[in-house]
């Protein structure tokens, strides 16, 4: 599907999501409680079949912690961006999608490690790169005490 067709289809399919035209890809913004169901639908619906999670990451905005999923369909070759805004920036929680896309298991561990996002129902949520004593370095209010980043 082209981006326009995809946008029209998604708008009809997900009534509780906000579907908008991004700069490159169609963006689907959902609430945290709808995330898991939307992810399942995105993968299972034959017309969409988003089966390949390219990239999973988080962005710390002043008002929310946003999790961004770049997804592609291997069969149809269309790409979309799924976004979820967490309610609480300081203690963000979203459902895991590691049961939908297996690779998310480790991408979510990375996001937890660097941004402190807790993924509900994650099978093994531990820090990936850093020691437990570290803060969450990719948050904007992180204090860079060892002055690695800013000199």
């Amino acid at each position: 599907m082209t981006n326009e067709e995809l946008q029209a289809y998604l708008t009809g399919k997900f009534s509780n999501a906000e579907v908008k035209t991004g700069k490159q890809y169609v963006e689907i913004v959902v609430k945290a409680e709808d995330l898991h169901e939307t992810a399942v639908q995105l993968k299972k619906t034959p017309e969409l079949s988003f089966d390949y999670l390219i990239c999973l990451t988080g962005v710390d905005y002043p008002e929310t912690m946003q999790i961004v999923y770049h997804i592609e369909s291997v069969e149809h070759r269309h790409v979309a961006v799924l976004k979820v805004n967490t309610a609480d920036r300081t203690d963000p929680k979203v459902d895991t999608v590691s049961d939908v896309w297996q690779t998310a298991k480790y991408h979510e561990r990375e996001v937890y490690d660097l941004l402190g996002v807790k993924f509900n129902n994650h099978p093994d949520l531990r820090r990936l790169f850093l020691d437990d004593s570290w803060g969450f370095p990719l948050r904007k209010d992180y204090k860079d005490e060892v002055r690695i980043v800013e000199r």
């Binding site: 991004g22 700069k23 490159q24 390949y52 710390d60 690779t103 298991k105 990936l128």
Partner: protein, 377 residues
């Protein structure tokens, strides 16, 4: 004979426990500081838990306080064998955001450098793969030939591995007057050397025994675990970004996406060997046709991206590399994320190696072609 039978029967009753072995962080076959916590029963691998982060360098955090052209320098340090592709990804992302159209000459030069990097990377992978399986000769053959490519890089941009050659708007310098001749000479020589590689390793009986039907990964698993590059294509997952989202001069050249559905270690090995031939074909189509023109467009002294989110995908030697930039209109990125191919590929290792012998684990890991700074970032 009866005594002998009794011994065999009694070994059945020996109680074996699962035990844990740390493979790494200093182990030659992990190609860097990676620790695999391997759960074993005898020699059989039951489960692998990779532990990463030994050389986590916080590149994404560092990028938030430096300017865009400086970001490109740091991308060399992630996957140092695909340095030029990483540079190009950031450069392309910035150019798309600013809607800068680069001259054709730049596209040709970048694509030739991409494919030379891919050749150099695959050569190193091939020679190390042989070494991992106990064939030291391959190591010298591979490094000997790779040296020619590094010499070409050095003459072009002054660096052998951390190239930093692609900049926003073009490439840093024009190609050296010798460039085309040297590349053609190298290709002519290397085409004679590649069949030698096959004679040395591919047809070797021991090598065949250790790679055929080992480390199977299904197409569904490859997609689910995001395994890209030759590793994913070996399972039938068509994931070549050069084909599906072409960039630079790739829309202009004819090449084949090598695919196979067998999904074992030998298939992944064979596809990389075939990819080297494809790289040679791509360079041959471009090298004599580099258009005249500027090697860069004039950019503003300070690069500032418009507000918004930008994503760029490229195909490195290991798979799909992605750059995700969130800009708030300032001269440094608000947030930058590098989607590295090695990260996703590594975690599919358990899927491939569980149930095999620990010696097979080394062969399987070798065909994943891991570069650890790429995983840790």
């Amino acid at each position: 004979m009866s005594e002998f039978k009794e011994i065999i029967v009694s070994t059945d009753k020996i109680h074996t426990d699962e035990y844990l072995v740390n493979m790494g962080p200093q182990h030659p076959s992990t190609h860097g500081v990676l620790r695999l916590l391997v759960r074993l029963e005898g020699e059989i691998v039951h489960n692998i838990q990779p532990h990463v982060g030994y050389i986590h360098s916080g590149i994404e955090k560092m990028c938030e306080s430096i300017s865009y052209p400086q970001v490109i320098h740091l991308t060399d340090r992630m996957d140092y064998l695909s340095a030029h592709m990483n540079n190009e990804a950031v450069a392309l992302c910035i150019e798309n955001a600013l809607q800068v159209e680069v001259p054709d000459r730049v596209k040709y030069i970048r694509t030739i450098m991409d494919e030379l990097s891919r050749l150099a990377s695959h050569q190193l992978w091939w020679c190390v793969m042989g070494m991992d399986l106990g064939a030291l000769t391959t190591f010298f053959y591979g490094l000997r030939d790779r040296e020619h490519i590094l010499d070409i890089f050095e003459e072009t941009c002054g660096a052998r591995m951390t190239l930093n050659y692609s900049v926003p708007g073009g490439v840093m310098f024009d190609i050296h007057p010798n460039f085309q001749k040297r590349v053609k000479d190298f290709l002519k020589e290397f085409k004679k050397k590649l069949p030698e590689y096959d004679q040395l390793l591919t047809g070797n009986v021991i090598f065949q025994e250790r790679t055929n039907d080992i480390g199977y990964l299904s197409k569904e698993d490859a997609i689910a675990w995001g395994v890209t590059g030759p590793s994913g294509r070996g399972s039938g997952f068509s994931c070549d970004v050069r084909k599906h989202q072409p960039y630079s001069a790739y829309p202009l050249v004819k090449f084949e996406e090598k695919l196979d559905t067998k999904g074992d270690t030998f298939t992944r090995y064979r596809l990389r060997m075939e990819e080297m031939w494809e790289s040679i074909h791509i360079i041959e189509q471009l090298i004599d046709n580099i258009p005249e023109g500027d090697y860069a467009v004039k950019m503003k002294g300070v690069v500032k991206l418009p507000e918004g989110e930008f994503y760029q995908r490229v195909e490195t030697a290991r798979g799909e590399f992605g750059v995700f930039i969130v800009s708030d209109g300032k001269k440094n990125p608000y947030r930058i994320k590098f989607r590295s191919p090695g990260f996703s590929n590594l975690f599919a290792l358990n899927k491939m190696a569980a149930g095999h012998k620990i010696a097979d684990l080394v062969a399987i890991m070798s065909t994943l072609d891991l570069v650890i700074p790429d995983i840790d970032r």
